[in-house]
């Protein structure tokens, strides 16, 4: 049974159909990627899965449970957390406070298990441990991205949704962020990734879907899509 199943999902903004009849599933322990141009509906799909958008039609099944109409905080409790687009770190809080906010739904924040998770996030992002007391709003874009990802992991999710983690970062940092995504998968957390940086994303995706104007137009393994001529031309600038 896949960890996440999305069945014929439709979401509207007023009368405008943002996504139309989207179906895909995410297997446990994999990286699944949604790629596509601006406005294709990638972020809307993620926000709908985490409960920030209302579903018009269709179903979302997470870990065998229908979560289509659950409020977002109930979904986090079930093991689904999101690192939002544009990072959305809490600028007035320190790095550590941001990470603690990620564990908002957890009741075990005083236990060794929690400390262990914090150490795991610090191991993924050593920078965050160095800067634990820094106010997050004063950090660079790359560091804020790390805060957002670390924060999402502090909920100890089964599935983490990463919305454009490489957006606006320098190439060297992008490489670092992607190797951390590999590491998150290696530690057993399933990843659903939305990316515009298609070349990097496809290289490490087990499954990938291409969205165009609210619909999935192509699906396949990451390597398949990366090798496909039309995908190359449209999203990869002909160079993988």
């Amino acid at each position: 049974m896949p960890l996440l199943e999305v069945e014929s999902l439709c979401v509207n903004y007023g009368h405008i159909e943002a996504i139309r009849d989207i179906s895909f599933s995410v297997e446990r322990g994999t990286i699944t990627t949604l790629i596509g141009a601006n406005g294709a509906g990638k972020t809307t799909t993620l926000k709908t899965i985490s409960g920030l958008r209302t579903v018009r039609a269709g179903k979302i099944i997470f870990d065998g449970k229908d979560i289509t109409n659950l409020p977002p905080y109930e979904r986090v409790k079930l093991g689904l957390s999101q690192s939002p687009e544009g990072r959305g770190v809490f600028p007035g809080m320190t790095v550590r406070e941001n990470l603690d906010m990620g564990a908002f739904v957890r009741t075990d924040t005083k236990t060794p298990a929690y400390k262990e998770d914090l150490d795991r996030v610090y191991a993924l992002f050593p920078r965050l441990e160095e800067r634990a007391k820094q106010v997050a709003g004063t950090m660079s874009g790359g560091e804020q991205q790390m805060v957002a990802m670390g924060r999402a992991l502090m909920a100890r999710p089964k599935l983490v949704l990463l919305d454009e983690p490489s957006m606006g970062l320098a190439p060297k940092l992008i490489a670092q962020i992607f190797s951390i995504i590999d590491e998150i998968k290696a530690q057993g957390t399933t990843v659903l990734l939305v990316e515009q940086n298609a070349a990097q994303a496809l290289k490490r995706s087990d499954t990938a879907h291409i969205l165009e104007t609210g619909e999935i137009v192509r699906s396949g393994t990451g390597t398949e899509l990366a090798a496909d001529g039309s995908v190359k031309a449209a999203y990869l600038g002909g160079d993988v």
């Binding site: 926000k47 985490s50 409960g51 920030l52 409020p71 977002p72 905080y73 986090v76 409790k77 957390s81 999101q82 939002p84 687009e85 544009g86 959305g88 770190v89 809490f90 600028p91 007035g92 906010m101 990620g102 908002f104 739904v105 957002a148 924060r151 999402a152 909920a155 949704l161």
Partner: protein, 263 residues
């Protein structure tokens, strides 16, 4: 003529006009008269005690109106942003009503009309009732400031909080309201200064001696003691108001400048 020469001449002309006006005033005003009427010594022995009581009461009334007004304003602002149409409606009517009325009318209503109509005894007597009127007005003004602050917090913050597992209440308490307050510190400090000055409206409600605020105390001296008939007590009260408000308005300017830099 060269451009820079022209500019010097124009500036020199402006300074000359200013100097002429200053000299004219210095010569034509009867300074002895001004001194007699606005700065006569001998306000009486109890002036010192009473004016200090006045300053103390002004401070107390300001702090109470600000604190309670802010709590009321937060409630109104949240109502105005509520999903429930009726709440939005109630908040809008309240805010428009009390911003539309002169503050003095509201204070008079609360100090005189309402207590008589409902046999109501406000805590702190007439002065207390007047302060409640001031709270109602301050709440209406600050509600709009707060609403603007709440709306100025980026939408992504709400979504980030929701997607981390916070419910609507937790999102507001931990994420939205703290950031909104940071944004509105300068305008809120400004409201505080306005409120200090507005406590002078309470001088008309006829408070007991120990409850009179600064304006009321100085007004009493307009008609009593050896300085009766001069503006001395008013001038001294005015000076005290400025000593309190000027540093605060400078503080507002500094806060605004700092915030602009932080953006």
């Amino acid at each position: 003529m060269r451009r820079s020469t022209k500019r010097y001449l124009r500036q020199g002309g402006l300074y000359a006009v200013l100097a002429a006006v200053v000299i004219f005033l210095a010569v034509s005003v009867d300074w002895g008269n001004v001194h007699r009427n606005f700065w006569t010594p001998g306000l009486g022995d109890n002036w010192h005690d009473l004016i200090l009581t006045g300053v103390k009461n002004t401070a107390i009334y300001t702090v109470i109106s600000f604190a309670l007004g802010l709590a009321l304003a937060l409630l109104l602002a949240l109502m105005k942003l509520s999903d429930v149409l009726v709440y939005r409606w109630i908040a809008t009517v309240y805010i428009e009503l009390f911003r539309g009325l002169p503050a003095l009318i509201t204070i008079l209503f609360m100090a005189f009309a309402v207590p008589i109509a409902f046999q109501w005894h406000a805590p702190g007597g007439t002065a207390g009732a007047g302060v409640i009127g001031l709270v109602m007005v301050a709440g209406a003004y600050m509600a709009e400031t707060l609403r603007a602050g709440l709306q100025a917090v980026p939408k992504g913050q709400t979504e980030a909080a929701r997607s981390l597992g916070m419910g609507p209440v937790a999102t507001h308490v931990h994420v939205i309201i703290p950031q909104a307050f940071r944004i509105i510190i300068p305008p809120l400090t400004n409201e505080f200064v306005l409120l200090i000055k507005d406590t002078s409206l309470l001088s008309i409600v006829g408070a007991a001696v120990g409850q009179r605020e600064l304006t009321n105390v100085s007004r009493d001296f307009l008609s009593s003691g050896s300085t009766a008939g001069t503006g001395t007590s008013l001038a001294q009260a005015a000076l005290l108001y400025l000593i309190i408000t000027l540093p605060l308005t400078r503080l507002v300017a500094w806060l605004e400048k700092r915030q602009q830099r932080a953006r």
